[in-house]
Symmetry: C2
Subunit: 241 residues, 2 copies
Amino acid sequence: MLSKNNIKLIKSLEHKKFRIQHQLFVVEGLKSVQEFLKSDFQLEKIYMVDANFKIDTADKIKIVTVDELKKISFLKTPHQVLAVFKIPSVQKANSNNLILALDSINDPGNLGTIIRLCDWFGVEQLICSKDTVDCFNPKVVQSTMGSLTRVKLFYTDLKEFISNYKGEVFGSFMDGNNIYKIELPKKGIIIMGNEANGISAEIEKLITQKISIPAFGNHQETESLNVATATAIVLSEFKRR
Amino acid sequence: MLSKNNIKLIKSLEHKKFRIQHQLFVVEGLKSVQEFLKSDFQLEKIYMVDANFKIDTADKIKIVTVDELKKISFLKTPHQVLAVFKIPSVQKANSNNLILALDSINDPGNLGTIIRLCDWFGVEQLICSKDTVDCFNPKVVQSTMGSLTRVKLFYTDLKEFISNYKGEVFGSFMDGNNIYKIELPKKGIIIMGNEANGISAEIEKLITQKISIPAFGNHQETESLNVATATAIVLSEFKRR
């Protein structure tokens, strides 16, 4: 049986404050949990409805009922298994390749999609401004589909990081140079900005090349692209060459 | 004051059955409503908290309180205005250009993002299989940000439609030809498949060219791309040339 305190602790991990306090986060679903188990992330405890899931450290397994799983899950329809992992120390890659940097991304689904894109396009290092949504937010973890185990994220003062970077700094804007027509190097930082406000003024100053995805429709009213789909197109362009 | 029946009618429009019965759908938010008002869509009624919104047909305006708006809104935080529009007759474009076709897309957010991408990339006609999520679903309307007024959607028997199409039929698969390396024409149909199962077997038979976005990461475990981000990359590739 799950204790009330146990349920309370797990549910508290929805909030960044408690994730930091306990240094723990939640992963749900068979496939995602398996990917985290295979990775360097350290398991704290795994809760599952059936015992048909093998792991080396049997003492970390707790069999629960479907109703108990519902009590600790962040999903509408819980997926058989929920695992609590330890938050690792800073994930810094010694990447000398392309780096993606996010300036104040708020939406967990967008961050999750972007992490998945980094995994797909082999971008090993993702730099996030300190006010970007936390990557251990359950919605982010859920939407990364395990990619979080393969992409290194690092939250930092973006202005300082970029100021110290020696190389080209690309930023995605509505009025930048046509990304299809300019030269794109194999190294550099690409910055994507906030959903509503784009890249902040203080970061904009540090950009050496503004880039833009041109619209092909005839309609001036067309909204800008969502930041996750824009990131998909930008990474595709950098990598295809 | 809003009558109970009024509230009940609007709330019922969350469900496809009632949208079909009443031939009505809901649009929320100032910007989206303005875009629909500018379009060929016909307004049924507009509910707003303030009267600072001008439209020609004043008799279609109903001023409501914030609490009343909350009762009819599908959003956690209602946006000042909610409008009910008439569902138009079949939206068929006489497009001789690139056509996008969706085979059983389930997620409203994905369909919304794809409509927005069609708008951006000038794809005038979007064909949907009959089991694709309804484009007048409030979540789809919300996520299109007005693009639904500029892209023509048409729900049909996809197999029949493609069988009658004279031209190249592209389909996105995990094991198709590298999209960066093949020739892509200005005309043709591009088919994107269901979130979990991809393109169905009966549609696959009709495809003349399988295409694929290659992964650049070193990890075999990497999940396929989300269908909306894959669509972003595919449309970008077709249009950039």
